[in-house]
Amino acid sequence: MSVAFSKRALQKCEQIIEQYPQKQAAMLPVLHLAEKEFGHISLEVEQYVAGLLEVPPVKVHEVVTFYTLFPRERRGKYHFQVCRGLSCDLLGCNNIMRHLKKKLRVKVGGTSKNRRYTLSEVECLGACETSPMMQLNDDYYGKLTTSAVDKIVKGLK
């Protein structure tokens, strides 16, 4: 098999599994770990995880395709996730989205050719008091305006 965790990740994986009364319960955390290691969850990764958790690969596949946070294809270095929930919609998230599409030159759901940006539309992120807002990789950015977005993009390495 060509995919495998690094030694450190494998250790981490064992620690995760130990926390649960059943091995399969480690599915989500191990997939999160796999996403960190490999960048996305390919069919090969699914098989590898199935081996680690001693479940049939189809069980892993079912999970990976059910949830939205396990990317099955490579994403850009910066993942913009603009909230389209009700509170954000009331406060004009569609303007933010329109602006980002133009600025990053990517379609919703798309990744730029140089793999720098991925742009997604997501449901309420639980920060409606800062609407309109988005998640950029692991962090939240709220009270967005088009000029605030410009500043954020400019600040990226």
Binding site: Q19, Q22, A25, P29, V63, T68, E123, S131, D139
Partner: protein
């Protein structure tokens, strides 16, 4: 004005650390409980407090705890629901960010009450920073002997595992959450059996919302009666009302249960922004039926909202001014439920999709007058015909937007017809 319980920590620097939490009296209560009280005494005190489940359904917390079978030899589990994905809801994020150890202490007390030695926090996958903070603070608590074997020198073992979700609203529903915790896709289970009898890993399990558990230390410190005295009848204490949408000061306001909605919008959240007028309010997250501007004198507690056909739900108040396009707002809501339906039940899966499409057609100026009755019919066909309450959570707003704002929908349809002609 009533003193704040949880939100007073929002403005304290480093309130998420053990040191600061203990400077404000933290971890005294659990020690008192472990030394002086029996598990049943804790359940009784929480029952007396009239603490309701603050995740949405409002089930009395003490009563739920009492459903744990006494003679079942299996391990028991406590699961804290931090999935927080109901549109309009952001309170649990604040609790985890600022009242981190309050939540952990509440979990210790709840765990002791129900006889659980292991607890899980199921946190939505997007809350990366909050999960990191929890992990870091749980580690700190473990290093202080507050978690692990024999906590605080007692005979009670207790530990906490943080479990990150992966982006699925349905996993906030308690049985879908348990499936997800077990490493499966989040398909809700049929009830009964209820989780208190057969929950995580086939064992008796209590699922409670973050905020519900976060009020437990204060209840045990000040007494159930004190807490019950703050709220309204059968609705103990206070809760965190989240206000978003077209208000001057969107944010989180900790107020007694039963505070009038008008007061929340106009006094606490500063009224409608830009001097506009109010058109509509969603009182308890997007699953709760919408209210018109004439209905905002309602008291914000479970029974008062039920009496006018809505729900307190997660207390996420979404305010819409008089420029709001209600048809568009309903489209956003139905798109959400269609996207999040797990697809197990036909009425939910198909109904939410049809509704989204019909509303899209109306927005495209291709609507028919008969569409409005069809939307109501779709809602009624979903209600009561599904495995989990997500179906109703979609149907209730659908019916309420169309019936309460029928004029807006009709105007949109006839405008479309004129333009087509």
């Amino acid at each position: 004005m009533v003193e704040k319980i949880i939100s007073k920590f929002f403005d304290i620097r480093d309130s998420h650390t053990i040191e600061v939490y203990e400077q404000h009296g933290g971890y005294q209560t659990i020690q008192k409980v472990l030394k002086k009280m029996k598990p049943q005494d804790v359940v009784d005190e929480v029952t007396k407090s009239n603490l309701r489940g603050l995740g949405g359904a409002g089930f009395p917390a003490g009563r739920k705890w009492s459903f744990i079978p006494k003679d079942n030899p299996k391990p028991k589990y406590l699961v804290v629901n931090a999935d927080e994905s109901e549109p309009g809801t952001f309170k649990d994020r604040y609790v985890m960010d600022h009242y981190t150890h309050g939540l952990l202490e509440g979990m210790m007390i709840a765990g002791y009450a129900i006889g659980a030695n292991l607890a899980f926090i199921y946190i939505r996958g997007e809350y990366v920073r909050q999960a990191e903070r929890l992990l870091e603070q749980i580690e700190a608590a473990r290093n202080s002997g507050y978690l692990g074997k024999g906590i605080f020198g007692s005979k009670f073992d207790f530990d906490i595992v943080v479990h990150r979700g992966a982006g699925a609203y349905i996993c906030g529903e308690e049985t879908a959450l348990l499936e997800s915790l077990e490493g499966k896709k989040g398909w809700p289970r049929m009830k009964p059996p209820f989780p208190a009898v057969e929950g995580a890993f086939g064992c008796p399990t209590i699922v409670n919302n973050v905020e519900t558990i976060a009020y437990v230390p204060t209840i045990m410190e000040r007494g159930g009666e004190w807490f019950a005295g703050i709220g309204s009848e059968q609705n103990g204490g206070m809760r965190l009302f989240g206000v978003s949408g077209h208000v001057e000061k969107p944010g989180l306001y900790e107020l007694p249960l039963g505070t009038p909605l008008r007061e929340i919008i106009y006094e606490h959240a500063g009224g409608i922004r830009n001097g506009k007028k109010l058109k509509a309010v969603v009182p308890g997250g997007s699953s709760s039926p919408i209210l018109t501007q004439d209905e905002i004198d309602v008291k914000m507690d479970y029974e008062s909202l039920a009496a006018i056909g809505s729900m307190l739900g997660s207390a996420g108040v979404i305010v819409m001014d008089d420029d709001t396009d209600i048809v568009r707002a309903l489209h956003v809501v139905m798109r959400f439920y269609h996207h999040e339906s797990c697809g197990q039940c036909t009425p939910c899966r198909e109904g939410t999709g049809w509704a989204e499409n019909i509303i899209q057609r109306i927005l495209n100026d291709e609507g028919e007058t008969s569409d409005l009755d069809n939307l109501v019919r779709i809602a009624e066909n979903i209600m009561g015909n599904t495995i989990c309450p997500l179906g109703d959570a979609a149907a209730l707003p659908l019916r309420s937007y169309v019936t309460k704002f029928r004029g807006d929908f009709e105007a949109r349809v006839s405008k479309g017809r004129k333009e087509a002609a």
